[in-house]
Symmetry: C3
Subunit: 355 residues, 3 copies
Amino acid sequence: MSEPDDELVPDQAVLSAGAGKSFNNLPGVSVVQVAERCNGLVIGNEETQLFGVSPIDAAQSGTLSFFNGRSAERFVAEPQPTAVLVTAENAVHFQCVRIVVGDPYLAYAKVSKLFDPARVSTAVGIDKTAIVHPDVLLDDGVSIGPYSVVGSNCRIGKNTQLGSHVIIDANCEIGHGCRIGSRVTLRANTKVGSRCRLSSGVVIGACGFGYAPSKEGWQAIAQLGGVTLGDDVDIGANTTIDRGAINDTVIGNRVKLDNQIQIAHNVKVGDDTIMAGCVAIAGSTEIGAKCQLGGRASVLGHLKIADETILNAGAFVASSIEQSGTYSSMIPAQPVAKWRKTVAYLNRLGKLFRN
Amino acid sequence: MSEPDDELVPDQAVLSAGAGKSFNNLPGVSVVQVAERCNGLVIGNEETQLFGVSPIDAAQSGTLSFFNGRSAERFVAEPQPTAVLVTAENAVHFQCVRIVVGDPYLAYAKVSKLFDPARVSTAVGIDKTAIVHPDVLLDDGVSIGPYSVVGSNCRIGKNTQLGSHVIIDANCEIGHGCRIGSRVTLRANTKVGSRCRLSSGVVIGACGFGYAPSKEGWQAIAQLGGVTLGDDVDIGANTTIDRGAINDTVIGNRVKLDNQIQIAHNVKVGDDTIMAGCVAIAGSTEIGAKCQLGGRASVLGHLKIADETILNAGAFVASSIEQSGTYSSMIPAQPVAKWRKTVAYLNRLGKLFRN
Amino acid sequence: MSEPDDELVPDQAVLSAGAGKSFNNLPGVSVVQVAERCNGLVIGNEETQLFGVSPIDAAQSGTLSFFNGRSAERFVAEPQPTAVLVTAENAVHFQCVRIVVGDPYLAYAKVSKLFDPARVSTAVGIDKTAIVHPDVLLDDGVSIGPYSVVGSNCRIGKNTQLGSHVIIDANCEIGHGCRIGSRVTLRANTKVGSRCRLSSGVVIGACGFGYAPSKEGWQAIAQLGGVTLGDDVDIGANTTIDRGAINDTVIGNRVKLDNQIQIAHNVKVGDDTIMAGCVAIAGSTEIGAKCQLGGRASVLGHLKIADETILNAGAFVASSIEQSGTYSSMIPAQPVAKWRKTVAYLNRLGKLFRN
């Protein structure tokens, strides 16, 4: 559905100094554009212009909403949006322009980019304050923001955009169509696939945490590997991924990482795995493909987690998981008086078992 | 008590290249200046000069201390400070200059700024290496540090100071009297109130973590909202606040956030709420006003937390809290041999209940 | 064994714009160089050239491995590396060049730096885009990367290297032989010992989190202390250490901190203590010497932790630890159906104890 070039519209925040139009001056998006992007069938005027999006329970005139509930029979959108993404069976319950699709939430995901004000930005090329080593290979359409620094022996692929204050150390490769946010640091020997999005404050390839004990204290082990990211990887703000001790730390294709995640050296993460904020993975652990890790989940080092494993938020994994399934160890908060008693009982469990 | 202008003295760390005086060359602060700032009554010489502060149990000559205990009857400050903030009933137990106040800790908070070496700094204006889009509206007294970048269509209020390497993307508004630390990133469509203080490494307005599942993997949903911060908001180092999916993520007035906090998209935080380090709030959750969240507390997504709720450190909230009160779920660490038994018992609790 | 100068070879990632050679063009390291660095005895040709390292269970020709197991009698390295670090008793089981040592893992730590491609880099001096206050005292051999900013009244010791975009505020001191990674921020009044390594995104000396309650909301307390780091301290990416309220926050000699650690104001950490990723230490707590804190361990404020205490990953310490030993409170994740029952039982423990 989406043409490759569509993915390359610059994010205004990446091109901080380049964005030229305000949100309010955006041209409209026509219903037919929306329908084409999500393969939807239009009931109503295809030429209707839409100027933004709104939630269906607080819909605004002039905007697009989506209805994702099971049945709209008793649902009243008041006021109605100007157009709605909706299933065939629920379409009858709306009076506005309807765009009929199989999965309204997925359809919204696909069309939401049309309403990103960034789409009207234009590429800025290489800012004159960017310092790019003369041997760097830049493909067509690369843009690099103010004060960014790119070291020796790097390659950057077609239409990839670097924000401002990006630091790319020596020997890095970045594929095409990537958006590297401002203040991202890639240390030496990092490889980034194509169409990746890295948010501000991300640090990829910092020194892995490896020390050997000795009489004179902890002896640092040089971390000689790098980091390899697959294609279509997203990484959230202030997330860190350390480089491997000998071989690379490896993040698979289509992996999505939220903010403030810590991935230690030598970790491998399988394709299509998704992790919510503040997850931590200790060294040398292998996370399978298509896993889902809830916020603040933690996995100890040197473990293997099976494909399609789900870790609930706050789960703490202390041994390998061979069987996919959903795992948890988080205790929900309680009123403190009750909780104190529970902890006291917990500490005296032996009495019950020894009877 | 404090005049608005007092809040605007530059923090030396914000004006990294501008601070001109060393700590040791600071002029003294007189006892009368201290007393005026905290509405205190002086017993002793009002003209006595103070050159710093010291804790009462390790007091130093030439400095100000405060005594916050219930009774100083048996307390011996040896050596005594040159002046002490103290309640009327405890004043008799000190021989040094006394500044009598109702709440010595609060009084210390109010006067502590007088001893900040930053107070002697002078504003630096717009550094010549700062890149400011020509359409940006700068009010009087704005200063912008080296290598900062401010995008199109921004407004920055009176006397607001940006440190070095600050990145403000397009369409941002910042109120008056703010101190934006070095290496802060505000992404597009962020609104900051007045008198806010943002520490180094903060990222406001990064892309919220929203994906729809599809056969071809996780489909990113464009995050079209922004972030709105109220007045008098403080944000600690490396904290991240994501922008909303459709509407804004909203942080209320006088909210205080410590370091390394993660606030996901669409979250709302009520006025006067305070959060200690490493708290995480998942998407679309609403935290009430006047809440206190201890370090490492976590709240799952799409929940509502009542006003004046207290979450103890490490509490993990998995359902909405309608009743204000104190909540907890943290288990204190124990010697590992005992803990291993407790976990083993925990896993066999069913046996006891099934009897 | 190691000469001081050896520690000063520049890390290529620190000198982002200066590294000139690719990984693949590295000159070899001879077996005798390796043996001299780790005090090993060579069995085989001392002049053999090594071009990298490989794990012993995936050894590659041309490289060095180490065998750290108890007995190599039944171990088959196929293919064999070109040379191996090995104990005397296991040496007989290898056919390749052997470098016999007492502790192969420690020996590997010592020699691993020889294979760091960074060793061929050359110092770059002060980049012309760096902004260094004229009163700063720079010792011989200091290098400062692009766009770094050093404030007034700082001293930087011999051969210390600052990466790009480093921000050093006023009144800081850095010892000799340090490597300050790109995008590190030291706020005013930070003291760094010698031979320290700080990774990208580190923030030292941000404002401690101190507020006094008042009728008008939380009243900020000026944080007047600084931060003092000892010698040989390593700090991982995006870790934050706040400055003290009155006196300094203090990190001892040879302390090793991993990524995304939060150290609050007034904390003291003893010599030789090591902390894994995502640890959090609340305000005014004193961690002893030679402690080991596992990933995500947390310690509440105003506590004292004895020397040589070990906190397992995820341990939450809520009271002082006077007795060294190993402490834990982490519950390993379980299949969710079983866990839900366990939580339900946990909430009904009172019934059992009240019988």
